[in-house]
Subunit: 556 residues, 2 copies
């Protein structure tokens, strides 16, 4: 009989399995924070639940706890005051190994059922999660609700669906009968068992801890692995809530909660590297800096390593039949969460001679002015601006803006914005610089945060050539092009496919290059240095489990 949690969530899984074959629009978890969806009082209850966590030890009972850690500070200007268990890794991993031994025998239906129940409970906690993510990452509330709640849950479910589909392709048993001419056939019975790799380590980031963390977590958990979650010291709470939820579900389902554990740690200690090199860690999912990601790929040889690092995202502006739409769309992409999205554009290439538009020929400066003007308009009202910008996650990003001013001519300076509710919040508008293709050394590195360059190129051919080289050499998660020419679009598509980066074409409406929709958009390609994997494809799940067979003769 299938596992009861599998039965409970079977319809959702079936719909998700259909969605991944079509990759059109689908979402399992509503992005609307309306009481009609999440229930009357859900918003208030989520806020109360968050407030109740502040200033206390987080309730997580794990084996091998030796003390506490945790110094999170909200980018909106206050200390969370939450502490988390500090782990003796050897003691904890011994318990994880015991828990894993039972979990690995449960089989794909139990794995999927437990994952789906965890996701359902995370969905119920979307308001709590929104506050947790807002006050660790700096995302504005609505973005935190959507991206860290339903959108992240969708990404998790997508990973479960891919994992389940891939395991289903392995028949559980086979009857093998080989003819032997006039002699009786050879007959064997074969059993094929899906076995997990062992322990999966999830290394979280400080900007999108759940959206980037769930795919690896659920892909590994759904293939029978135990999970150790190592959050970024600046954004522990969101993943602590996820771990606690997972442990509750596991326990209720009759498994050891130690199938999923949390390792919080002090900033700048060596916990990430120590964990990553443990021989019993067989899978690693990492989101973070290229330096750390490259090190993991090269050094953690005992594990299969999935990384999302970073790169230089670019926009090629060749021509447009909707200049105001172009400007509005890009202004939003540059402003949203203060450019702290791994998908946010950094370099915008415009021919020095200007472009053709629906408003006639526009010079380089006019195009640049249209974009910076749209940013100013978008962020003109501080009360609205803070809901788009959110807050700057850390001082490094904040200070980088000041360093960046020297890297070009300032077209639009970054301004500090006061938050009506959080006076100590760290909020600033994007810095937009002007540069030329000759000065490419200045902007062909990643300037993570609200820093962008409008670059005068010789022509669109040069823009495309620069973009191609940058994706190949530096990596990129997104590429965007604006053109009314089918030929230019074909060239841009060829660049995207040759260098391996997702391309958005002529976005002038309500879809933004930074956005990647679960069940439809592949996030990352694994084909350029920005990431060695994609969310989500078969390759993201297929090596998280192995197949072990046994066979014996069939006798009558």
């Amino acid at each position: 009989m299938p596992h009861p949690l599998f039965e409970k969530h079977r319809a959702t899984l079936d719909r998700a399995l259909a969605a991944i074959t079509e990759r059109g629009y689908w979402s399992a978890y509503s992005e609307s924070p309306s009481p009609r969806v999440y229930g009357e009082g859900a918003a208030e209850a989520g806020k109360a639940a968050f407030d109740a966590l502040l200033g206390k030890p987080f309730a997580l009972e794990q084996p091998g706890t030796t003390g506490t850690t945790g110094h999170e500070r909200s980018p909106y200007g206050f200390d969370l005051g939450i502490t988390y268990p500090k782990q003796d890794l050897d003691v904890m991993f011994a318990a994880v190994a015991r828990a894993a031994d039972d979990w690995k025998r449960a089989g794909p239906e139990a794995w999927a059922g437990v994952c789906l129940e965890i996701l359902a409970r995370l969905n119920q906690q979307s308001f709590l999660m929104a506050h947790a993510v807002m006050h660790t990452t700096g995302q504005a509330f609505m973005m935190a609700f959507q991206a860290a709640g339903p959108h992240a849950q969708d990404r998790g479910l997508e990973a479960v669906a891919y994992a389940y589909a891939e395991m289903q392709r392995v028949p559980q048993r086979a009857y093998w009968e080989k003819p032997q001419g006039k002699n009786p056939p050879l007959r064997m019975e074969k059993v094929f068992r899906v076995v997990p790799r062992g322990i999966g380590l999830v290394i979280g980031c400080c900007t999108f801890p759940t959206w980037n963390g769930y795919p690896g977590l659920f892909a590994s958990l759904a293939t029978g692995n135990a999970i150790v979650v190592k959050p970024h010291p600046g954004a522990i709470l969101p993943l602590a809530i996820a771990v606690k939820t997972a442990r509750d579900v596991l326990l209720e389902a009759g498994f050891s909660p130690d199938v999923v554990t949390l390792v919080a740690h002090e900033a700048n200690d060596d916990t990430a590297r120590t964990l990553a090199l443990r021989p019993d860690v067989k899978l690693i999912d990492f989101t973070g800096s290229p330096a750390h990601g490259d090190w993991l790929e090269q050094t953690a040889q005992q594990a299969v390593v999935f990384t999302e690092k970073a790169g230089v995202n670019q926009v090629i502006i060749d021509s447009t039949d909707d200049l105001p739409g172009l400007a509005r769309n890009l202004a939003f992409s540059l402003s949203l969460y203060t450019g702290q999205m791994c998908t946010a554009p950094q370099n915008l290439y415009v021919p020095a001679t200007g472009i053709e538009t629906n408003e006639g020929h526009k010079s380089f400066d006019e195009v640049a002015a249209a974009i910076t003007g749209a940013v100013q308009k978008l962020l003109g009202d501080p009360a609205r601006a803070v809901e788009i910008l959110g807050a700057v996650q850390n001082a490094g990003i904040w200070n980088r803006v000041d360093e960046a001013r020297a890297a070009g001519d300032v077209l639009l300076d970054s301004a500090i914005v006061a938050h009506p509710q959080f006076p100590a919040a760290r909020i600033r508008t994007p810095l937009v610089l002007k540069s030329t293709s000759a000065a490419r050394d200045r902007w062909l590195t990643e300037w993570f945060g609200p820093i962008s360059f409008i670059v005068a190129t010789r022509d669109t051919a040069e823009s495309l050539a620069i973009a191609a080289a940058a994706v190949h050499d530096r990596g990129a998660l997104t590429l965007s092009v604006y053109s009314t020419s089918d030929e230019v679009l074909a060239d841009a598509i060829a660049v995207a496919e040759d260098t391996g980066v997702a391309l958005s074409i002529n976005l002038t409406g309500g879809v933004f290059v930074n956005q990647s929709a679960a069940f439809s958009d592949y996030h990352g390609t694994g084909a350029n240095p920005a990431a060695n994997a994609a969310l989500t494809d078969s390759a993201f799940v297929a090596s998280r489990f192995r197949v072990v067979q046994h066979r014996r003769h069939v006798t009558d």
Copy 2:
């Protein structure tokens, strides 16, 4: 319109696609060398084609050829005298890059169609290939015909089917419509393109160049990659024939033949490492020694590396209801191709107190005598023996037998066998040694070749514990158990699943632990040190390509 070669072979591909979902018995290419299958005169024509190759340059025209190489010597005692082009790698890879650029745009149906046509032509050349493999690897003729011909072709087709199936799971395009409440929905069109990694390197071995070489070659080719084949200097001819066949098909199909190239080289030069570290090599399929395979996994960071190395294969003998069948079956497994199969058993564990059998209790020495007696009986007639043993591939294996005598007590010594047709052939029977669990340092390393140990253990529990530790620490491609106890079999299955090794149970008939059938048996698990991949599962193909998308708004 689908590619004509895709249409031509569609029925075969469809049948293969069904086979990989069932993994029962199926074969596309007949293992019977009968004229009724391969045509009257096919055997003679194959022999003549082989003879015509001897003593001449092999006809392969590739860019960047700078001279010749090739010093193959048949294990049956004569020099082949065939030379192969020696390549300037930079010149050749420039041509490969040009060829790859066109090939990568052809798409999954053209890729599959070309692969299937190559396989069909290789099938037609199965007699030529049999002689080529016999006189490079030392396999006896019938084994060379089957294993290097139809069985290898089946493994190649299996890889094509997995690759095609995995690519088919990516929709080519999607329509995405996201509701926006009372506003018009957001509508986008998305295109998903399968793009290959780039260039795949196939590093061949000297014992099963086609059986072990085709899966990686066809998995990479079927996903749109260009292929560089680097055969072992001792077994160039089989893969040269395969490369030439592929080049002929590519040219006829309108592609550059340089999509598939051969790099033959001198023994002990650094060609393998030079190739493996080229930045343009993005996939590596390797069969060979653990030292070289581990080095590749650790060093060739720019590539996805698939390895089949080696390990210590083991047989646990607990009890049996068919002692003569057990002995006959194991005798054949120890003798077949002189133990030069990566799947051949090396260590046989028997409780020191003996075992229960259908002939009553048998002491350790009686069990050992049954096995060695069966070997002697099997190989008693030299004319029959040479057809089972084949020849020893190289002097290293030959000399290892003499070194091995000191590693245990000789139960059955290795005897030199004269081949009636090839007096200078290097043929010898297996050496069977006796040892104890206390002396495990002697036999817990791989003794590749006709060397095996019958080890007295305390009991079956110790046998299982030794086997588990050996698979975990040393790796193994096969594990075998004989027992009449359901409990012992369950324990053996648990060991196999926990350590990740394929298990054969109570083989007493016409199936041998060394044998792995395409479309049914997974060869390797990727879960222990003997191999990091399996033939063939989704993980073997899913990361050989990437998906690159572009998206744009749909407007009415």
